[in-house]
Amino acid sequence: MAIKPEAQSKVSLERHGLTDEQLVAIFRTMLMQRTLENRGFQLNRQGKIPFASASEGHEAVQAGAAMAFERGKDILVPYYRDLGLALGIGLTPYEVLLSLFARAADHSAGRQFPHHYASRRLGLHTISSIIAAQLPHAVGAAFALHYRGEAGRTVLTTFGDGATSEGEWHESVNFAAVHKLPIVFLCENNEWAISTPLSKQMGQPDVVKRAEGYGLPGAAVDGMDPVACYAAVGAAMQRARSGRGPTLVEAKCYRFLSHTTDDDDRTYRSPDEVRARRKDDPVPCFERLLVEYAVLSAEQVEALKRGVLEETNDATDRAEAMAYPDAADLYEKVYAEGWEPWTL
């Protein structure tokens, strides 16, 4: 399925076994991701929160990949631009808003930056701001699954194109290949690492071409196409679950917004370039496709959008009303027990 607006009447909907209900669920995750993300930027502009980061353009790959994730079994080791993935595996908008507002009830109790979630319940590993630092952890988690013989479970770990330049990326992919671990490395290649374009990140533009050098299969997929992403990531995860080893999947997408609210992308790329890429925006593209194939009516789309906005508003109000952590919480959870560097 290539979803291009100018060619929409010619494309066909390849479902890869997804039901109408699943397609709608994917679309709703995409809508929710975009709405929540904009909410972060709005709250920042209103002066209510100091910081928010963005994932616009990643909705399709994340909603599609999340659909391939088996809740209660698989483990997700994401990075900080994975709002949609986290939502897709079960994180609630309220939990996202708690993170944005850094409230005491947040999973990290307000310690971490926004969008750095963690949920043991969901199998969602704690996220680091340090690029590629999560990848050895993901490999270690996959080793644990493999070691205990827990067939049918796999780790999905994600990163941007910039992370592929880190030594820890290389070491992680290599180790997973040597030990044939149940893990899928999903690169969300959005062409930008803050201000650094892909051409300054690597000597050739296809991350997937690295797979052969490590001795593992690689798969490239259109990251603007949620169903294709579901299929590619799903096949890789199924391969991992059945003990056939790791896969490197590269989804080509695009970062429509600045890196974060602290960044101004006009300093390094032209608004025209970004505008030109908007034609591939996966949210309206997928919407048109679902309507064209009568998976959704126009009215149902409107109802979905309304529902998502209401849920976001409700989550915003509830989270905002919650308390910050106590100052004394600074000293909590450094070690398992209360601690002092000096013992008495």
């Binding site: 630092a133 050895p136 490999v139 996959a142 644990a144 601690w339 000096w342």
Partner: protein, 335 residues
């Protein structure tokens, strides 16, 4: 000092103590895996894990690619998902590529997830000089890490402490950096109690009692300090020697009790003086017990150079000696 095995103890050196303790951990807990460079068929470059791979298999004794960042990082992920990994950095000098995973990740996992995820991990590494290890097989690294909350650091010097503290480190719910002075590996023998036991982290041990001077040390230098203190004993000068054993957390009570008694403090360590462990101890004693002191605190530590050189005179110049320590002790007692 002759040491003999008794009905309830076995004489071993520090290598054997590490080995026996790791063996017991592997035997007793299937969640325990060992990963590092050459830990498998070679059985570690000091033969600490010799024959482990035959008994426990490749899945539990993992010869990793040469990639230290991922040795620690993968162990972090294993720990987060319920295993009890023991990562080995072949020489402490090789730990720098994994600095991010130790300081930036392992030490923060619990904190940043508000306790939802934890990182019960042991990182073992041989450190220290006096073995003709040159610039890259000699360093002490403790000061680079003891600044880091979320991490624990242990540096035992005697085989019985090696066993008790390594068991405690393995049981510990948080990441522990376990430092083994390689010069003491075969040099130091002692009685090790049979059976399983632990020694709590953060507890020092008075290895020699005395009244006129407190000496605080750990590692190879602790043994040299004990030797020097013994010489002074023959001169009827009484020195108390404290084996720190744990560097983070560190035993305040043991140090203060001793200093209140002897009223003098000498800190001896092989690591560089500037910004070293002795600096923190000095500051603590100055804050808590300044008016108990009868003389300035003194530190006898490694010189401020990047490492010891390979040529013998360069190593000898870097390293202190029991004689130099005895001189320093004598001067302080007589101050």
């Amino acid at each position: 000092m002759a040491v003999v095995s008794s009905a309830n103890s076995t004489v071993m050196n520090n290598v054997e103590a590490v080995r026996a303790t790791l063996y017991e951990a592997m035997k007793n807990d299937e969640r325990t895996v060992i990963l590092g460079e050459d830990v498998g068929a070679r059985g570690n470059v000091f033969l600490i894990t010799k024959d482990f791979i035959g008994e426990f298999g490749e899945r539990r004794v993992i010869d990793t690619p040469i990639a230290e960042a991922s040795i620690v990082g993968i162990a972090v992920g294993m720990a987060m998902e319920g295993l009890r990994p023991i990562a080995e950095i072949q020489f402490a000098d090789f730990i720098y590529p994994s600095f991010n995973q130790i300081v930036g990740e392992a030490a923060k996992i619990r904190y940043r997830s508000n306790g939802e995820y934890t990182c019960p991990l042991v990182i073992r590494t041989p450190y220290g000089g006096g073995v003709r290890g040159a610039l890259s097989h000699s360093v002490s690294i403790e000061a680079l890490f003891y600044h880091v909350p979320g991490l624990k650091i242990v540096a035992p010097s005697f085989p019985d402490d090696v066993k008790g503290l390594l068991n405690a480190a393995i049981d510990d719910p948080d990441p522990v950096l376990f430092l083994e002075h390689k010069k003491t590996y075969r040099l130091i023998k002692g009685e090790v109690p049979d059976g399983h036991y632990t020694i709590p982290l953060g507890k020092a041990n008075v290895r020699k009692a005395g009244t006129q001077l407190t000496v605080v040390s750990y590692g190879l230098y602790l043994h040299w300090a004990l030797e020097a203190a013994q010489r002074l004993q023959e001169e009827n000068l009484s020195v108390e020697v404290i084996d720190l054993r744990s560097i983070r957390p560190m035993d305040k009570t043991a140090i203060l009790n001793s200093v209140e008694k002897t009223r003098k403090l000498l800190i001896v360590h092989e690591d560089n003086k500037f910004g070293g462990i002795g600096a923190e101890i000095s500051a603590m004693v100055a804050e808590e017990a300044l008016f108990s002191l009868d003389s300035p605190i003194r530190r006898l530590c490694g010189p401020d150079v990047p490492s010891m050189g390979y040529a013998l005179p360069l190593e000898e110049e870097f390293m202190s000696s029991p004689a130099e320590m005895a001189d320093a002790m004598r001067a302080m007692v007589k101050f």
